[in-house]
């Protein structure tokens, strides 16, 4: 005789450690199996786009720090590139190299967080996460040398960067570049062949390449699905066209591939930084610009390959000192589009791991 069961709806979050911030999911289960999931957004909505309309172009840089707050450098870069495109500002060569170094360090820091928290979500509570945080901490120390801040950096300005890197930064960067490959190898040896990790991630939460492309998914999540698309290669900005690096892709688009692509991207980032250190020329890092910019009337969209995916800013100018409209194309937000397709049919514990592998930051989802 069959047992009569009924679906049950459970509220996950908004205060829950595995939601990586204030995110809420209404999940409907049949026993342990997920039938439906409805994400509820907005707990961290601060109206960034509206706030930007009443701040000058330079002041908006500080707002971008608070979007994806574990990757402020990338946010700064995407925004200032949009302003430069809108206003037609030339960037000195040294500043472009400094920006690429900063953005790639930020990518490593962000991927460290993603990897550490993914293990946290799998139940390896806190210990592996702290290994990742140890390395991220060294990057934050270097950011502190660059601009005096560790999280809300505001290092970049329309036209360049806030200041040139001090001598102690270059010394710290050399040590970091020497140590880090060994460290990433050590981290990988703990995880990649680990039986528990493989059992929990292989074939779990598969996102196909077609689905990823149709759902506007970008970043490591898209590449894990086997699509070789990276804005640094496809539409090179700053000095990426002069640098030699590979774009790692996954084979099956499962949770394991999303993890592995991030590990490989960290290695590529180190390669990029090494080339930048060798080639960076002397020179100014910021042109002399008026504090209040008044770009010509019109609009501009500029995007960078952030750690989470395509981070773009769409700016409209009406010749005043503040943007008329500042739209943020946030990868964390749009990458959640296929969430339901990825988790239906899996179990509660898989939901946590699949969600963790998408790597969202709620500051950017809710803006």
């Amino acid at each position: 005789m069959a047992i009569k069961t009924e679906p049950i709806t459970i509220n996950l979050g908004p205060q829950h450690p595995s939601t990586h911030g204030v995110f809420r999911l209404r999940v409907t289960f049949d026993g342990e199996e997920i039938l439906d999931v409805e994400p509820v957004f907005g707990y961290l909505h601060r109206g960034t786009e509206k706030l930007a309309e009443s701040r000058s172009y330079v002041q908006v840089v500080t707002l971008t720090d608070r979007l994806d707050y574990v990757a402020s450098m990338s946010n700064n870069l995407a925004y200032v590139r949009a302003v430069e495109k809108l206003a037609g500002i030339e960037v000195p060569e040294r500043a472009m190299y400094l920006r690429v170094i900063a953005a790639e360090l930020q990518r490593i820091a962000s991927h460290m967080m993603a990897t550490g928290f993914l293990l946290n979500d799998m139940g390896a509570f806190a210990t592996p996460l702290m290994y990742c945080f140890r390395e991220r901490e060294r990057i934050l120390d270097m950011f502190e040398m660059l601009c005096g801040a560790r999280i809300t950096l505001s290092y970049m300005r329309p036209g360049g960067v806030f200041q040139d890197a001090p001598d102690d930064f270059w010394a710290a960067l050399d040590t970091f570049l020497a140590d880090e490959p060994g460290y990433i190898g050590e981290l990988e040896s703990l995880i990649t062949g680990n039986e528990v990790v493989l059992a929990r991630t292989r074939g779990v939460g598969v996102l196909s390449d077609e689905q990823a492309v149709a759902d506007s998914v970008t970043g490591p999540m898209l590449r894990a699905a086997g699509v070789k698309w990276d804005i640094r290669k496809a539409d090179p900005y700053e000095v990426y066209d002069r640098l030699d690096f590979d774009v790692p892709i996954g084979a099956s688009g499962d949770t394991f591939d999303r993890y592995l692509v991030r590990i490989q991207e960290m290695r590529e980032s180190l390669r990029i930084i090494r080339q930048c250190v060798e080639r960076i020329p002397e020179g100014p890092v910021r042109p002399d610009l008026p504090y209040n910019l008044r770009p010509p009337e019109g609009d501009a969209y500029a995007a960078v390959e952030g750690p989470k995916g395509e981070l773009g800013f769409y700016l409209v100018s009406d010749r005043s000192i503040a943007p008329y409209r500042c739209k943020i194309r946030a990868p964390s937000f749009i990458n959640l589009t296929p969430l339901k397709k990825m988790v239906v049919g899996w179990k509660m514990s898989d939901l946590i791991v699949i969600f963790g592998s998408i790597d969202v930051v709620l500051g950017e989802v809710d803006r």
Partner: protein, 147 residues
């Protein structure tokens, strides 16, 4: 480099397939008639050589006398992009057709536009507010919104 297609060329091709759909264009953008938006979406996505399989971003701008919807389209296969815009007049009940059927990636973004800009997307599968709660007064990104 991602090639930004010339809006005038794209407008000409759209008008060859759907006469009168593209109403204006310049070197970067194409403006289409709101009534033809779904035809144009299907045309841009499915025409060989265009292959715009991805909707990178969709947003709205309030120009007070009208709203403008801005679609950034991308073809990863051909590495080219185009910007499609459409205008909506009237502030009371502006509505546009939903493009979720053509590009599922529009789902959350169209909900965000409804929430913050107050533009309805007809036939959207789940048009609810997303960042603010149901019952929130007004749509904050409109220029006449007073917090």
């Amino acid at each position: 480099m991602t090639r930004a297609l010339d809006g005038r060329d794209v407008a000409r091709r759209i008008n060859e397939a759907h006469a009168g759909a593209a109403v204006a264009s310049n070197d970067t953008d194409v403006w289409v008639e709101i009534g033809s938006l779904t035809d144009v979406a299907g045309f841009l996505r499915d025409t060989p050589g265009l292959d715009f399989a991805t909707l990178t971003s969709v947003t709205a701008v309030d120009y007070v006398e009208h709203f403008e919807l801005v679609y950034h389209l991308l073809s990863m296969r051909r590495n080219h992009s185009v910007v499609v815009k459409t205008r909506l007049f009237g502030r009371d009940e502006p509505a546009a057709p939903s493009l979720v059927e053509w590009w599922p990636g529009a789902d959350l973004q169209e909900r965000e536009i409804w929430d913050l800009m107050g533009i309805r997307f007809e036939s959207h599968p789940n048009l609810k507010r997303i960042l603010l709660w149901e019952g929130y007064p007004g749509h904050p990104l409109r220029k006449d919104y007073l917090g």
